[in-house]
Subunit: 291 residues, 2 copies
């Protein structure tokens, strides 16, 4: 199933993506995406879609929903409680940044502020105090059920789905201290979405990821090359730490970031950045960098 | 003013702390602490208290509120959107951990998951995968108004008040990677509160901080010794990053953590940890460490 958020409510895409069904409204379930997931709504999506499609077929009208092309799509989880981020999770990216490519004992985990969230088609606004804004295309995972101490083999049953993300990073601030969180929490520095695809449609162990800047391919990766796989990440993050429905996990970026190029390349005013997760969605954002 | 949260609603303490007035209910303001702050409720607290105290004096009953001693106090902000944490912000702590005591260009910023929050009197539960649980007594700041790009001189006008915090840390996981967030996001590893004191009652530049474990003083500090002062932190954090009402900033811990002792000391089953911010409150939590 392919899910999007419109006006704070989770919708399922039907009719080849041309129509969106309001899932909360259709099933008397909570309307906010996090609440919808927490109420176990995901288990009922198939029935909701089937019923809506019957009505669609019967009278060719949209029972509940809006035309996707006219709608203002939000990030699929517009207000996540927590954006967990995994650093150094592809060997080629570890290598290009001069780090060890050995698998460490644990994943590198930091956070982005939920305030950094940006929707598809939104503008990445680089503030004047940031001189080295860089891209990091990533596969993002959304937690679907409260998870704590889950095993690796059960981990995927706690995942609602996957989407695309851009872990935009202010490189001039990222390395002034040891900690990454602030330099990656600048307003608009977390584009996410637009489509959340549930796991019946994708294999999280084999997702192609491509980042393009102004149409030029800058990063190519595949989740089969993750140092810590998605099931491992859910398992290890949840060891003593409760993950809530709607929590987002950015799973790491492959080689090809701007800061590792010779000479380094950063995002400039008017640039277009696209992150494509094959079979899931393309996340496109323009950059505004005044001055 | 001295504020606490009870059943998700912000209350003001009156009658020497024996009574609590429901601020949202009294003024038809939103009831959640974050929403109350966002609606500018703080500007009206004096009037609300004055009116309630008049009624208290007139008939010696509690107009709105509960007895503080009987109430289950929550963290003053029970559901913060973001818990910003500052590392290495006292020179004596930098020294005891073998780090430079020079002032860096920027503060060290990481996050704790909101899911780690714990109230006063709540139990710090150490999960089996954590072998080195340590204390970090801190002064916490709560943001009162949406803040972005605020100057250092204006910074305190964006602060709702201060409270006590314990940045409990799993030292066995903190240093396996460069990033601190996960090892400090274990469930119950963020005791906060119980009283939020507004800035009319305290000088944030001169707050004594003491941490006691089983009654023994382990840490002593004063905010005059912060490397980055509270106004500097609000100013620097907000440079391109929007801080929301109810956001919490843990301002760093002074020397005396368990991991820096010879030999190291960690929290054990049944231990009592108290963080006192003089003139503000004492935050007391017991430790459960089964096995």
């Amino acid at each position: 199933m392919r899910l999007v958020s419109i006006e704070g409510r989770l919708h399922a895409l039907v009719a080849q993506g041309a129509r969106a069904i309001d899932l909360g409204g259709a099933a008397s379930l909570p309307t906010g995406p996090c609440q919808f997931l927490a109420a176990g709504g995901l288990d009922r999506v198939s029935d909701i879609i089937a019923e809506a499609e019957e009505r669609l077929a019967a009278d060719a009208t949209v029972p509940i929903g809006v035309d996707m092309l006219q709608a203002k799509l939000q990030a699929p989880i517009p207000k996540p409680r927590m954006i967990w981020c995994i650093g150094i999770n592809y060997r080629d990216h570890a290598a290009e940044t001069g780090r060890s490519t050995e698998r460490p004992a644990e994943p590198t985990v930091f956070a982005k502020s939920p305030g950094a969230l940006l929707a598809h088609d939104g503008t990445i606004v680089v503030p004047p105090n940031v001189t080295k804004p860089d891209w990091e295309g990533e596969v993002a995972v959304v937690i679907g059920r409260r998870a704590r101490d889950v095993s690796q083999s059960d981990a995927l049953s706690y995942v609602a789905g996957v989407t695309a993300a851009n872990d935009v990073s202010a490189r001039d601030h990222q390395f002034t201290t040891t900690q990454f969180t602030w330099s990656k929490s600048i307003d608009t520095f977390c584009p996410l979405g637009p489509v959340l695809v549930t796991l019946d449609e994708v294999d999280v162990g084999n997702l192609d990821l491509t980042t393009r800047v102004n149409g030029v391919v800058m990063q190519r990766g595949n989740t089969r090359d993750l140092i810590f796989s998605i099931p491992e990440l859910v398992c290890m993050l949840s060891a003593g730490v409760t993950l809530e429905p709607g929590d987002v996990i950015l799973t790491g970026t492959p080689a090809g970031v701007g800061n590792a190029r010779t000479p380094p390349v950063f995002l400039g005013d008017g640039d277009s950045v696209e992150v494509t997760v094959e079979g899931v969605c393309t996340l496109r954002n323009r950059v505004s960098r005044p001055g």
